[in-house]
């Protein structure tokens, strides 16, 4: 990908890697479409397994600090994720936690409500589609005829990228909005002054509600929590006022409130605003204020209508929360 740029500035060296991820973050980078020409005019992609045939050994061969920017997406679930995070940290000037999983733990982070044993049992024994009469479980070592085979070790706990290595910036989202990526990329290319280290980039300080054009009033009292399919959405009233849990109030803007525009409540992938330590706890406190009841039994009954509260409030943020995980 060595194309030359017009103004003869040295081209940036860029890497993209995935830890425990679904691949959506990598695809979001491809989503720049024709702007990819601007990207490759200004940057050489030196490592990006989803798109380029580059190997671990190519990275290992690079001198320290060789890569200008690494977009690391995915959480740290196993020893390979961890090894690559450490390696890319060493080789990169700027390491960016790209997307919800690297930022806060993301969907894989919900695994922290279980441990390795429980997950393996479910996946390799009890799940309805599994046929495994010999009870074969993943192992890190296997002595095959051809020699020893190694697999990464699957950890009990999912970690965010910054729980393993030092991270320079965070770009939230599941996946991050491609326009935001371009803005950040062009800012680096143009040599703009970068924000304070450790800050969140490519997102606003204000929440989804600030942009959201649904009508919000002080009348936020609900007797019943609904799942989105259970209401006849009037398309204009705040989801919370219709009894649907929307994480917009506890979630940064920056995505252009796309889910809400599509008439689905916000699920919180852009993470918390700057001063929040635990967005799940914050949102639960806020939801508590909506409940239109005073008797403990009635309140409990209303709260019980929330399906999977842990997965709802901590959908993207469990490993980064105060809770971090269920006790093993």
């Amino acid at each position: 990908m060595n194309s030359s740029n017009n103004n003869n500035k040295p081209k940036l060296k860029m890497a993209v890697y995935w830890g425990s991820a679904c691949g959506g973050c990598c695809v979001s980078i491809l989503d720049v479409h024709e702007a990819l020409f601007d990207v490759i005019a200004n940057a050489d992609l030196v490592f990006w397994p989803i798109a380029l045939d580059t190997k671990y050994k190519d990275v290992e061969a690079m001198p320290n600090g060789f890569i200008d920017i690494t977009l690391f997406n995915g959480a740290i679930r196993n020893s390979e994720n961890e090894h690559m995070a450490l390696l890319l940290r060493e080789k990169s000037k700027l390491l960016i936690a790209y997307g919800s999983c690297a930022h806060l733990g993301g969907i894989p982070g919900l695994g922290n409500f279980h441990n390795r044993k429980e997950i393996f049992e479910r996946v390799y024994e009890t799940s309805e589609s599994t046929v495994n009469p010999d009870g074969i479980m993943p192992q890190t070592n296997y002595a095959a005829l051809e020699g020893n085979l190694n697999l990464p070790e699957f950890y009990d706990t999912v970690k965010t990228l910054d729980q393993v290595v030092c991270v320079d910036y965070y770009m939230p989202g599941c996946p991050p909005q491609t326009e935001r990526l371009l803005e950040v990329f062009m800012a680096v290319v143009n040599g703009s002054e970068l924000p304070q280290k450790k800050s969140v980039i490519g997102a606003w300080d204000k929440t989804q509600c600030d942009e959201c054009d649904r009508v919000k009033t002080d009348n936020k009292l609900v007797k019943k929590f609904n799942r989105p399919f259970e209401i006849d959405d009037d398309l204009t009233t705040c989801f919370l006022e219709q009894g649907v849990i929307c994480l917009g109030p506890a979630t940064r803007g920056g995505c252009g409130y796309r889910c809400i525009k599509g008439n689905a409540p916000c699920r919180g992938c852009y993470g918390p605003t700057p001063d929040i330590t635990d967005p799940g706890a914050k949102m639960m406190s806020a939801i508590g204020t909506l409940i239109d009841a005073n008797k403990p039994e009635e309140i409990a009954e209303i709260v019980d209508q929330i399906v999977d509260p842990a997965g709802t409030f901590y959908r993207y943020s469990l490993p980064a929360s105060i809770l971090r995980r269920k006790l093993i």
Partner: protein
């Protein structure tokens, strides 16, 4: 933030703390921590020499954060804040760790208590590191006072304030002054006339130019804050706006509805009357049955609706003595009538009351004890051959026998409840209600007149059941508190309020409804929530409800509290690590 230079002071409290907590060991250990410039212990930190120690250290070592580990901050937080202020440091750069009430007084193991005290001190250090300077603010006091309730309590307070030369607005829901006392004949224990008492008060109130009385008036809404309250009254002819600096709630009592107590037969049996109905007979000097006959037997049933989980769990405090008063009045009026008291315990705690009880006991009345918890007397209509109207059945506890008592009139000593408008008044004035329905005081022991809303005082039976002297004492105490605030002219308002970060606020409106003081409004132009810092009490409800973190409660920010928790856990983590090591 400047580099923290923290001074830590650990108090022995004589032997109160030092007998259970190794204060010297903590002092030493804390002294080695980062940012700790001074770490001392002293016999009595609250004493003048103790305070001087802090003041001279602040000056000498340029300390900018202070932690005192001593008793409850309820007792001495203000003492130390003042000392720190005297040394030229902002008083909010201070944190207190309670190692007496929360440690030495409640534990018996010196090693564990010392460890807990240490973690509380470390937590305080972690929190104080994040404290910010807060500036003092004052507001002027409007010298007028609003008093809700024109009974003996409201009128007494009104006169004390008005006679000092200040305006009083007295609000009465009825069309006349006097309240319950005006419906009573004589008072206990000295048998003086309640009528004379109350009539002279009504005269004084009516003739005082500083008191403006509003009859048939109810308060719907009160806005503002200490020093500057206002309300709009809807009068018959026109609306009227009142402005005042303080208020007293003296809304009084309501007798329990006797029909709600089924055993007792009120409404079913014509000669079963309530205490207040009997007072009317006494005022008229005419103790007769409904059929117009002089009664041969009168039964007085005590504790009707009081001290019983089914009705009111509390004691109504005045009924025992009122019942004895009736015994005396009946004995004088009808020397031959038999008087029976069905009582459960005789409570004669007031001045002159025990004496009153023993005198009354000698005047030919029969005292029969019933089991209040399980066996309230039941009343039924007497038969044709019985020589009385009503027969009461009860288990007499002292003799252990089931007995029947003949009666022509039965007097029910009905319990006192808070007035039915208490909820509406509480909401308007921004005060809380206790589980029994009475107004909640700021502190049950140390501040029973004030409420958690500055400038709002409570007096009389709206706070709890009480007799005339207690009601009058509270009335005069509330008046004195208000006169003090008027004479000072200004009041310091709470600094530990909530504050909105407009750069973060996402306009979700969550905070607006949760504020119990209506201190938050929405700025439609800026699209952010706004806290009125004068009304805000700093309760923190909004900051915990705010999902964006835009609202923080000053002096109790998430950062401060989380670092306090981290401080606490730092020690226990080490402790559990140590324990794990030992296990290995």
């Amino acid at each position: 933030m400047k580099e923290p230079k923290i001074g830590v002071y650990i108090c022995w409290c004589g032997t109160n703390i030092s007998h259970m907590v190794d204060v010297k060991a903590i002092t030493e250990e804390i002294g080695d921590m980062p940012n700790i410039k001074v770490s001392r212990n002293y016999k009595y930190m609250c004493s003048d020499p103790g305070q001087d120690l802090i003041i001279s250290d602040i000056k000498k070592h340029k300390l900018n954060r202070i932690v005192v580990a001593a008793c409850s901050p309820r007792i001495h937080e203000l003492t130390f804040r003042k000392a720190i202020e005297n040394a030229g440091l902002n008083p909010y750069l201070f944190e207190m760790a309670n190692i007496r009430e929360q440690v030495s007084w409640v534990h018996t193991d010196i090693e564990a208590a010392t460890e807990k005290a240490k973690s509380l001190v470390i937590a305080a250090i972690s929190k104080v590191t994040h404290h910010e300077e807060l500036e003092r603010r004052t507001v002027d006091i409007n010298p007028a006072t609003l008093i809700i309730g024109g009974g003996i309590t409201g009128m007494t307070a009104a006169l004390d304030i008005a006679e000092s030369g200040f305006k009083v607005y007295l609000i009465e829901r009825d069309n006349k002054l006097g309240g319950v006392v005006s419906k009573v004949d004589l008072t206990f224990p000295y048998m003086s006339s309640a009528q004379q008492l109350i009539k002279s008060l009504i005269n004084k109130v009516s003739n005082n130019k500083n008191i403006e009385v509003f009859f048939n008036t109810k308060i719907k809404e009160i806005n503002g804050y200490v020093g500057n309250f206002e309300t709009k009254l809807k009068l018959q002819k026109k609306a009227r706006e009142l402005k005042f600096g303080n208020m007293i709630l003296a809304t009084g009592l309501k007798p329990t509805d006797p029909e709600s107590i089924h055993e007792i037969g009120y409404g079913r049996l014509p000669d079963v009357v309530t205490a207040l109905e009997f007072e009317q007979m006494l005022i008229k000097g005419n103790i007769k049955t409904k059929a117009g006959k002089e009664p041969n037997n009168i039964l007085i049933v005590h504790c009707v609706g009081s001290r019983n989980e089914k009705y009111n769990p509390y004691c109504s405090r005045t009924c025992c003595m009122t019942a004895l008063k009736y015994s005396n009045q009946i004995r004088s009026a009808l020397p031959k009538t038999s008087i029976y008291h069905a009582y459960s315990d005789m409570r004669a705690f007031g001045k002159g009351c025990e004496e009153f009880y023993s005198q009354t006991g000698r005047k030919n009345a029969v005292f029969l004890m019933y089991d209040q918890k399980n066996d309230i007397p039941t009343l039924r209509r007497a038969g044709k051959n019985d020589r009385c109207n009503i027969i009461a059945h009860m288990y007499e506890k002292l003799s252990g026998e089931d007995i029947e008592i003949p009666a022509d009139i039965v007097i029910l000593m009905i319990s006192m409840e808070a007035h039915e408008n208490v909820k509406q008044v509480a909401h308007a004035a921004g005060v809380s209600i206790c589980s029994n329905g009475f107004f909640m005081e700021k502190h049950p022991k140390l501040d029973p007149i004030a409420t958690t809303t500055d400038g709002v005082y409570i007096a009389g039976t709206c706070q709890s059941p009480k007799d005339i002297p207690d009601s009058v004492s509270q009335a005069r105490a509330a008046a004195a508190r208000i006169l003090t605030s008027i004479s000072v002219g200004k009041v310091e308002i709470e600094l530990t309020t909530a504050v909105v970060n407009e750069d973060i606020c996402g306009a979700c409106h969550t905070c607006i409804n949760v504020c119990p003081y209506s201190a938050i409004s929405f700025d439609e132009e800026k699209k952010v929530s706004v806290v009125n810092e004068v009304i805000c009490k700093g309760c923190g409800t909004c900051s915990s409800a705010c999902p964006t973190g835009a609202i923080s409660a000053r002096h109790f920010t998430d950062k401060q509290i989380l670092s306090q928790i981290e401080g606490l856990l730092a020690v226990s983590n080490k402790l559990s690590e140590k324990l794990e090591m030992e296990e290995v």
